[in-house]
């Protein structure tokens, strides 16, 4: 399925790390291209996409509500007292919303999903490799990319922005609650500040980031799962590897996207 190694035979063997990097990047890219081909040809089962999206949202939502709520609390907690001291209470709502909608909402949502649903995807596919289920698909002339990767990719592209909407709302509401609790900030002051600091474009760009993170999480999770070797130990190894790689890439792409989108 992954023929990246074929193109890498020309690389000198004396650079094992370089080889491994290009092999990994090539494999991931080929898997993504293969998946996009099936999506454009509409060769996937919508019911499976819905099933995967439901799993993603249901399994991650409680954790996202908790983490984003506390994120809103802590930003307001840190800014409220200082803002009051300098007479800048009218920026509390804005600073919470600005940080959350543009950066922390999509970022924290992606990290939670990578740890929860991404790990589950890798472990599931890795177990299927170990129990020969992936070879069973191939032996029936069915592409595992089409039946396994594409639904998970689409579920993450749809699910991540939806979860980010919840994360944004809960964080901003959490910030308001903490500002009210800490310095009895008037609701109108908080919400007017939110409106002044961010507009709908910021929100849209945040959701675009979330969709990109969805692609990263699903493709890395599937790629790691499908290249499992070595039985139960291998399942554990690739699951950890998928989460670590996803989180690193999420941070890197977050920087790149912020640089491009919010210039």
């Amino acid at each position: 399925m992954f023929r990246a190694s074929f193109y890498l035979r020309t690389l000198p063997k004396s650079f094992p790390l370089t080889r491994r990097f290009f092999e990994y990047a090539g494999g991931v890219t080929l898997l993504l291209i293969d998946s996009v081909r099936y999506i454009l040809a509409l060769r996937f089962r919508p019911s499976e996409v819905v099933r995967q999206a439901s799993f993603l949202i249901v399994s991650s939502l409680p954790i996202i509500l908790l983490t984003s709520g506390f994120t809103g609390f802590v930003i307001a907690l840190e800014t409220a007292a200082s803002a009051q001291q300098y007479g800048l209470v009218n920026i509390i709502g804005g600073s919470v919303a600005y940080g959350v909608v543009r950066e922390l909402g999509p970022l924290l949502t992606a990290i939670v999903v990578a740890g929860r649903a991404g790990a589950a995807i890798t472990a599931q596919l890795a177990s299927m490799v170990v129990t020969e289920q992936i070879e069973a698909y191939q032996s029936m002339g069915t592409s595992p990319t089409r039946v396994l990767v594409v639904p998970r990719l689409l579920a993450c592209i749809i699910g991540l922005p939806m979860l980010t909407v919840f994360a944004d709302m809960i964080s901003v509401w959490g910030g308001y609650y903490m500002a009210w609790l800490r310095i009895h900030l008037a609701p109108s002051t908080y919400w007017v500040s939110v409106q002044q600091f961010i507009d709908f474009t910021d929100f849209e760009k945040g959701l675009l980031k979330a969709a990109v993170f969805g692609i990263i999480i699903s493709i890395i999770a599937c790629y790691e799962g499908l290249r499992t070797e070595g039985g139960a130990e291998g399942v554990g190894r690739v699951t950890t590897q998928a989460v670590v790689t996803s989180i690193i890439l999420i941070f890197a792409f977050n920087f790149a996207l912020s640089f491009v989108l919010f210039r």
């Binding site: 399925m1 129990t131 191939q138 029936m140 069915t142």
Partner: protein
């Protein structure tokens, strides 16, 4: 596994005759520095059952994966129904695979699907049959293998022997021309081994397919096979009809059949 050998000149492929369904010619395969198969050649006759026997880890299951295109050799030719599949693209391989059925060693059933859904999967994927026709075909196939009452169960709710038979049902539901059985009796008790052996015989009399069986349970091998081939140190050392195979003068074959510790096979 055998030690690495030097490179050799690759002979030209010989297009197999019509009576040969699968032909392996001069196959080399290595995993890293270890050579698993070396200059292996073997023909599988159309409509017959050929069993490949050999020591554990000799590369028997690898032969099935090569025939199904799940693994490609380092060198050599694999003819399936007259077409060399080495180097084919995944899409072309899929066309060939649809005429084959593969019963995996551990059944490889999709654990989130019921028995009926597992068996119907290839029909939904690759045929234009209606839902009613598919249901009928699945029922017939499950009944033929004595699995009519487990259609709605999940694989995890079945015994190992039942799972293997469901794997058989999924492999043959498409009426394939070639059926590959990977260690069908491994890990089963003697009674279930007999049930599995009878199932393979029933499948063969129903489909008249070319069946390739990998196993080392000799009573079952004799019961089902028209031909037997023995794999040793990466190559085929003996091929004969089931009757002739028992009388082989090859000391390696004799030691294997007797299960003796003394002989040319290194322990």
């Amino acid at each position: 596994m055998i030690e690495h050998a030097g490179a050799r000149e690759m002979p030209d492929a010989v297009t197999p005759s019509e009576s040969v369904a699968v032909s392996l010619q001069h196959i080399d395969l290595s995993f890293g520095p270890k050579i698993v198969l070396s200059d292996l050649s073997l023909d599988f006759k159309r409509g017959q059952v050929t069993s490949v026997i050999g020591l554990s880890g000799a590369g028997k299951s690898t032969i099935l994966r090569l025939i199904d295109g799940l693994r490609m050799p380092n060198a050599g030719y694999i003819f399936v129904n007259g077409e060399n599949i080495v180097g084919l693209q995944e899409r072309e391989l899929n066309e060939i695979r649809r005429k084959m059925g593969f019963a995996f060693q551990a059944a490889a059933l999709f654990d989130s699907l019921t028995v009926a859904q597992n068996v119907s999967f290839p029909l939904y994927e690759h045929t234009t049959l209606t839902r009613k026709e598919i249901d009928q075909r699945v029922t017939d196939t499950l009944d033929a293998l004595g699995l009519g009452d487990v259609a709605d169960r999940l694989p995890a709710e079945l015994s190992g022997g039942m799972q293997k038979r469901v794997g058989f049902a999924r492999a043959i539901v498409n009426d394939p021309e070639i059926v590959l059985f990977d260690e069908p009796t491994t890990g089963l008790d003697p009674i279930m081994t007999n049930v599995i052996t009878d199932s393979i015989k029933a499948i063969q009399s129903r489909l008249h397919a070319t069946s390739i069986v990998v196993m080392h349970d000799m009573p079952s091998v004799y019961a089902i096979s028209d031909n037997i081939a023995m794999l040793f140190e990466g190559t085929i050392i003996e091929v004969a009809s089931a009757k002739e195979f028992r009388r082989s003068q090859n000391p390696i074959v004799q030691q294997f059949l007797e299960g003796s510790e003394v002989g040319p096979i290194p322990l």
